[in-house]
């Protein structure tokens, strides 16, 4: 499946014409997004360039410890980013961090153990990055929904606690809905993949000149691995985060307490 493609900085610069088009539409329709478009463009250039050099170094060093260090930093920033989407969940950082770490470790461990990918930086870095990125989105959506569910259903939760239900029992319907919210987007996009859109890996491989059959197989592997990693991350994050709404005496904490 090894392929290569040469992309010059001139070609990258030419693609900025599409960014200018987006900014022009924003200016024309007064959506006030021009500044955000510029920031997003600059940030993506700087961040991807930096990570490109980092990955190059890691590939050349060819040591597993640098891979672990890079993925750990990605998990950390993923948890910090997702926390900002889960403001109604008290202490959301640790459930997110643990969820992302377990999702990344278990899915990468499994694809290596099953012989799907070699345990080398060339596979672990890009695949790990995809797993963590998608797991971050799924767990952020799940915890955002959990926060909304609990804050909007305090009366129902307390009514169930008042019967002597545990915090886990009283919050189970809301945790279930949050988990569903976190994972449904990827499930839906997996259902429609190939029909409505082509996923990024497959597009990248085709552009790089790979055989379509190779591109499809690799894409399928990644889609299936992503389903696993998002489910694990959302499950662990919601399974840990709901506890933070309750005291050890199985009482629903006051908002902001």
């Amino acid at each position: 499946m090894s392929t290569s493609i040469d992309v010059s900085l001139g070609q990258v610069a030419a693609s900025l014409a599409l960014v200018a088009l987006a900014a022009g539409i924003s200016f024309w329709r007064r959506t006030d997004l021009e500044r955000d478009i510029v920031v997003a463009t600059v940030r993506s250039f700087v961040q991807l360039t930096a990570i490109g050099y980092a990955i190059k170094l890691i590939f050349e060093a060819d040591t597993i410890w640098l891979v672990v260090a890079l993925l750990s930093v990605m998990v950390l920033f993923g948890a910090l980013t997702a926390r900002s989407r889960a403001k109604k969940v008290p202490g959301a950082f640790w459930p997110l961090l643990i969820g992302l770490a377990i999702a990344a470790a278990s899915t990468l461990g499994l694809v290596v153990a099953l012989g799907i990918f070699e345990a080398t930086p060339r596979y672990l870095v890009p695949v790990g990055g995809m797993m963590i990125g998608n797991a971050m989105t799924a767990s952020a959506v799940a915890l955002n929904r959990l926060g909304d569910e609990v804050s909007g259903s305090r009366a129902a939760i307390e009514a169930t606690l008042a019967l002597g239900a545990t915090a886990r029992e009283a919050s189970a319907p809301f945790v279930r809905r949050a988990l569903r919210s976190g994972t449904i987007a990827l499930i839906d996009s997996t259902k429609t993949t190939g029909l409505i859109f082509f996923p990024g890996t497959m597009v990248g491989m085709l552009l790089a000149g790979a055989e379509p059959a190779d591109a499809v197989r690799l894409q399928l592997i990644l889609l299936y691995a992503l389903l696993g990693s998002t489910a694990i991350a959302a499950l662990v994050a919601t399974g840990l985060a709901y506890r933070n709404f309750f005291t050890p005496a199985q009482q629903l904490r006051e908002p902001g307490a």
Binding site: A155, E158, A159, L161, G164, A165, Q251
Partner: protein, 218 residues
């Protein structure tokens, strides 16, 4: 004595909700009355540990609440909140859930009957019930746990006069049919007179009076 509160205080958002409450609540029917914001509902929530006071002690059957397993306490001292909040599903599934938590065999017909509902309500979807019917279903659900004490938070506040009278009649009949103590929060002293033998009158988070109705509500 059921409950004994000693020097109980609670502050929320920097505002004292309960201030040095000291009161004894005996078996039978007790009303907690007072104007809105006087701390009635908060006091009720303390009795089955949905919340804890900042200071002071509360005892149930001569044992501090902190020594009770909160789950066991809540199955024995069941609280019916002001607004109905049933679980999705049928009335019977709600009753079965509550009975299961308390480790009791469910007799749905008996529970529904005590709450003034026909046994045919068992199969009704809770989302199709009127507010009054939901309130009765909440009562039946609490009774499915066979509690020793029933805490009722403004049980008729969301109901019209006819439904209110029916719930009051149900509660009065309940006391004659089963061995249960009632602690009823109400903003209406007349309702307290109809439902209770004793009363605790709160004013701005403090006990203004307590004892037999004649003393507490004058």
């Amino acid at each position: 004595m059921l409950f004994e509160l000693r020097d109980v205080s609670l502050t929320r958002g920097g505002r004292p909700v309960l201030d040095s409450i000291g009161v004894e609540i005996h078996s039978g029917a007790t009303a907690i009355v007072g104007p809105s914001g006087s701390g009635k509902s908060t006091l009720l929530r303390l009795l089955n540990r949905l919340a804890d006071p900042d200071t002071g002690t509360i005892s149930y059957r001569d044992r501090p609440l902190s020594e009770w397993d909160p789950l066991q306490l809540r199955r024995e001292v069941s609280l019916v909140p002001q607004l109905p909040a049933l679980l999705e599903g049928t009335v019977e599934s709600n009753l079965r859930y509550a009975a299961g938590l308390a480790g009791k065999e469910l007799d749905a017909r008996r529970c529904l009957g005590h709450a003034g509902l026909d046994s045919r309500f068992a199969e009704r979807d809770v989302s199709k019930l009127s507010v009054g019917e939901q309130q009765r279903a909440m009562l039946a659900r609490a009774l499915a746990q066979e509690p020793a004490v029933l805490l009722l938070d403004e049980p008729t506040s969301a109901l019209d006069h006819d439904a209110r009278d029916a719930i009051e009649a149900t509660l009065a009949r309940l006391r004659t049919e089963i061995d249960i103590s009632l602690i009823v929060v109400s903003h209406d002293p007349e309702q307290a007179r109809r439902l209770a033998d004793r009363a605790v009158r709160l004013k701005a988070g403090r006990v203004a009076a307590c004892g037999p109705l004649a003393e507490a509500l004058t």
